[in-house]
């Protein structure tokens, strides 16, 4: 009880709510509530509702095809398919990470009043975008059908790719959400950075069109391999190269761990800054 003691405070609750037996189920249910809220928010008051999630990538695909098929069409067969696969992967990452970034600050009123595990907010943002992503597989299937693309057993790699992109996105979201609590303008920096990132990732162009030097730089873009793991089995109908899969898994795992570590380290202080 000495006031000078620097020992940190202790909070004990028995039975604990967010740890111990049964906690997993409570986490899962909270995630369920938050994800379904995010999805409902998105579709409320829109006439076409869920259709937007399917139409949006189709529109962007058409635009990019019209603009770029003269340039890349000759070297990339089935260019619209190439584009839409890349776009879906990109949207999952960019939407998940931007919404995840804002999620903690946006939930500020809640975090100040309810004892709730804060990591659930970025997790729910990424989760909601995973659900939307699943819906956007419908237009992808449509394009594959129209272009008569053969579906091979390599398609089993698709969930692996999605999982790795989701994991990477979660890592980024956790790290940026933490930063955003302390510096509110992180959001704007990130949005600007995302634009550059989009052009620096082979979404609408194949990596082969780049100069060897540019390609060497691009190897360092973690999204390149992540998109590749998702795209190759759908676009080429073959399994992604083992080296690419290994790199993608390593990057996604490392980013998720790093994000989690940063978030955990600072989350106790969030309440003072939100």
């Amino acid at each position: 009880m000495d006031a000078s003691g620097a020992a940190p405070g202790i909070y004990e609750r028995t039975p604990p709510v967010w740890s111990g037996p049964g906690a997993m189920g409570r986490y899962f249910d909270l995630l369920h509530s938050l994800v379904s809220r995010a999805i409902k928010q998105r579709y409320k008051r829109s006439v076409l509702g869920f259709a937007w999630t399917m139409l949006n990538p189709l529109f962007t695909m058409v635009i990019l095809t019209v603009v770029f098929s003269a340039v890349f069409g000759a070297i990339v067969p089935n260019y619209p398919l190439f584009v839409i696969i890349g776009l879906l992967a990109w949207n999952l990452f960019s939407l998940g990470s931007t919404q995840g970034l804002a999620s903690v600050v946006d939930s500020g009123p809640l975090i100040r009043k309810v004892a709730v595990p804060k990591a659930m907010f970025p997790l729910a943002a990424v989760g909601a975008n995973l659900v939307n992503f699943l819906l956007s597989l419908v237009p992808l299937a449509l394009v594959m059908l129209v272009m008569r693309v053969e579906i091979t057993v390599a398609i089993l790699w698709v969930p692996v790719g999605v999982l790795l992109i989701g994991l990477f996105t979660l890592g980024i979201a956790l790290a940026l959400a933490t930063l955003n609590v302390f510096f509110r303008d992180v959001r704007y920096f990130y949005e600007a950075g995302l634009l550059a990132w989009f052009y620096g990732t082979p979404i609408f162009y194949p990596i082969d069109v780049l100069s060897p030097r540019a390609r060497a730089v691009l190897q360092w873009n973690p999204l390149y391999v992540l998109v590749e793991v998702f795209r190759t089995p759908l676009y080429a109908g073959t399994a992604p190269a083992p080296g690419i899969v290994a790199a993608a898994a390593l990057e996604a795992g490392a980013m998720a761990l790093l994000g989690w570590w940063i978030f955990r380290r600072y989350q106790a202080r969030f309440v003072d800054y939100i």
């Binding site: 009880m1 006031a3 003691g5 020992a7 940190p8 405070g9 202790i10 909070y11 004990e12 609750r13 028995t14 039975p15 709510v17 967010w18 189920g25 409570r26 249910d29 909270l30 369920h32 509530s33 938050l34 379904s36 809220r37 409902k40 928010q41 409320k44 009123p109 809640l110 975090i111 100040r112 009043k113 309810v114 004892a115 709730v116 302390f182 510096f183 303008d185 106790a268 309440v271 003072d272």
Partner: protein
């Protein structure tokens, strides 16, 4: 079940400049909204917390509820705790009453299946059965408060933290809330009551703590604390 709130708590308010990204830091100012506060609350007891505005009552409740971690010292909570702090903090006004029951309940750590089974009872207590599938934005503020109270008290708590929320809704509903709280007390639920109403304090609580801005605290029988508080506020 036993409370042990010992020692201290600090919130350091750090003012960062707009130029914070350059790494410039403003001098740190340290505040101790709660310091040297220590008391036990016995199981089944109704315990009052009084103090003037800014005495640290809300901070104390947040520490007990586990919303802010104590900087120093120790907080021990035994049993299921249901905080009635700022009712409806977790509500989303675009969602319906039913959807909000699920959302708010899971935020408190309740299971979705359990909540699904309880929707009817919660809506009934809140007198909102016909409106349960209407978005909250179309509710009056009294309806929202009733729903929040109904959800927060529906779970079977061992400890209830009440932060002057009894002024919810109209007179008949207030009576219903008081009845429910009285039933909880009769059943042996520990109640922590924050109030400025000294009459309510002496009526419901056996003991109380008087908090004084960031410094000492006095624990004693409710009547004694009420008298001290009245003295201090010039009442």
């Amino acid at each position: 079940m036993r409370y042990d709130l010992q020692q201290e708590r600090v919130i350091s308010v750090r003012e960062y400049a707009i130029r914070r990204l350059r790494g410039e830091r403003f001098p740190t100012q340290t505040l101790w909204p709660l310091r040297g506060v220590s008391f036990d609350v016995r199981a089944g007891e109704s315990f009052g917390i009084v103090g003037r505005n800014g005495a640290g009552k809300s901070t104390l409740l947040k520490v007990i509820a586990g919303i802010v971690p104590p900087t120093r010292g120790r907080v021990r909570v035994h049993g299921h705790l249901s905080p009635l702090l700022e009712l409806g903090a977790g509500f989303d006004h675009e969602l319906t009453g039913r959807e909000n029951i699920q959302l708010y309940g899971t935020l408190l750590g309740l299971r979705r299946k359990h909540l699904r089974d309880r929707v009817a009872a919660i809506a009934d207590f809140a007198e909102l059965t016909p409106f349960i599938d209407v978005p909250l934005k179309n509710y009056s503020s009294g309806m929202v408060a009733r729903l929040a109270f109904a959800i927060a008290t529906d779970s079977d708590p061992d400890i209830l933290i009440v932060d002057e929320v009894l002024s919810v809704g109209d007179a008949p509903f207030q009576r219903k809330c008081e009845e429910r709280l009285a039933r909880f007390r009769a059943r042996g639920v520990t109640v922590l009551l924050v109030t400025h109403d000294l009459h309510l304090l002496t009526e419901t609580c056996s003991r109380a703590v008087l908090l004084e801005a960031g410094a000492s605290c006095i624990v004693g029988a409710a009547e004694e604390i009420a008298a001290r508080y009245a003295e201090r506020t010039g009442g």
